[in-house]
Amino acid sequence: MPIQLAKSLKLHRDKVWSIDCSNGMLATGSTDRSVKIIDASQYKLLDELDNTVHKKAVRSVAWRPNSYVLAAGSFDSTISIWNREGEEEMDNSWEMELLAIIEGHENEVKSVAWSHDGAYLASCSRDKSVWIWESDEMGEEYECISVLQEHSQDVKHVVWHPYLQLLASSSYDDTIRIWREYDDDWESAAVLNGHEGTVWSSDFEKSETQLRICSGSDDASVKVWKYVRDDEEEQQEWICEATLPAVHTRAVYSVSWSEDGHIASAGSDGKLVIYREAQPGQWKIVDQQELCHGVHEVNVAKWIKINGKTMLATGGDDGYINLWNWDTSSTSNKNN
């Protein structure tokens, strides 16, 4: 069985909503309003952010690429930005200090994400909008570059492409929107229709040869969408390339696409499922783990890399972070 529990950490007193990994550190966000920073290889708690900064649940955390800057989006409608105090590496002290609190959204912030080069921060909210922020190098001053109001409902999640300046947002209006820069502003490049329920999460494929995105929805399905270009007719569009084999019996809250092409999904039914593409457009289930967080729902599932090793991290309503080993050398693949 490829999925094996490596470590279970009771980090929070309440639901864990979000996990992000960078430089071997995990940041976690929870209903208990705190954000914890963990050394993922030694399972050591490095810091716990001041839990009086946010007046409501911390819903989403995101590390700025190649830095110790962390953004945390909260139900209190603000986004806090933190950075590591002190000298890096040399210093053993590990403390995060608050750099800024960004206001602007009218109500709960649901997700925050940094572009691959750290130049932009995207945020989305129940106020139906996606905002794009630009900050200075220090990460202290923030200016709103764009307010995107094309979704007709609550926007649940934002994610950037790993190499391109492309943003995807998933919404309660059952669609995913792709956004791109245009002049000094941003515009909606595409709308992906097909899910029959709120789209909770999406993730881009880490590929340089094709443009694809996967999504998880309230309708219990996981879909893969592809950007196709018909050279003859010069038509470009997004199509729904595949709906992954049905395993989940309830809402899928989180999807993640690994560097080596596996998709992980987890949700309300407590299952963690891994899929691989046997043939282009044909997906098979590699493994599934039931009751990942006991009888509790799983809110986030993410592929992470610790010391060069690919692993999975999940967070659930039980307040636990579970780290899973992913052993692809195992030959007992189910449903092969």
């Binding site: 639901k15 209903t31 409501k56 649940a57 819903r59 139900f75 109500n107 709960e108 649901k110 129940r126 609550d154 649940k156 309660y172 329920g197 709120t198 309230d218 309830r250 809402a251 309300s268 039914d269 407590g270 009751l291 006991g294 009888v295 509790h296 729902e297 309503d317 039980d318």
Partner: protein, 225 residues
Amino acid sequence: MSEFINETPTVLEDNQLPTRGEDTDGNLLLGTDVTKESLHRTKLLLKIDNSLQSPVLQNVELLTKLLQLNQAPELTTDESDEDTDDMADELGVPADPIDPQEIYDLIAHISDPEHPLTLGQLAVVNLKDIEVHDEGYKDRMAEVIVKITPTITHCSLATLIGLGIRVRLERALPARFRITIFVKEGSHQSENQVNKQLNDKERVAAACENDQLLGVISKMLSTCK
């Protein structure tokens, strides 16, 4: 919508609401009405005689006397005292699965946000509209589906009522329960909208952090027993 399903509800008196029957059969020991006290008692009693068939256990009067006379040894308290399922597990059998009546009892006494009447009295919640799938095992998921019948078809209070029911059930039921609340088909103008909102875990979680809203809900739940 020309037909209001619950247009002029016949307001029920409290004693007309469906309840569990009187416990006359002496099912107290391992009956349907498994309460904390009864399980606790059962534990005490089983320390006296392990067999359930013991004539000692059958004689309730004798047992009461015995309990009063005997200083029953202190039981090691479980860590999760609130969870009666734990005790049930110690006995080696699943806790009694929760049934619709129990769910009904939990929510029927929630007050309507605007009237001094409860949801049971207004027939907004009805026993027949409650579905439960539970085997009683604490490590397996279970499901509760509640269908509500709001009194006005475009009543936006339906979302508030649904939220109140959700909060009540989430607090009262063990973690293994997946709660789904629907507005009964045909009883509301924006059914789909309302249903979607009521079953969106994130929206509900955020609503529960809204102090004003929580205040209203607390008032609604204050009439619960």
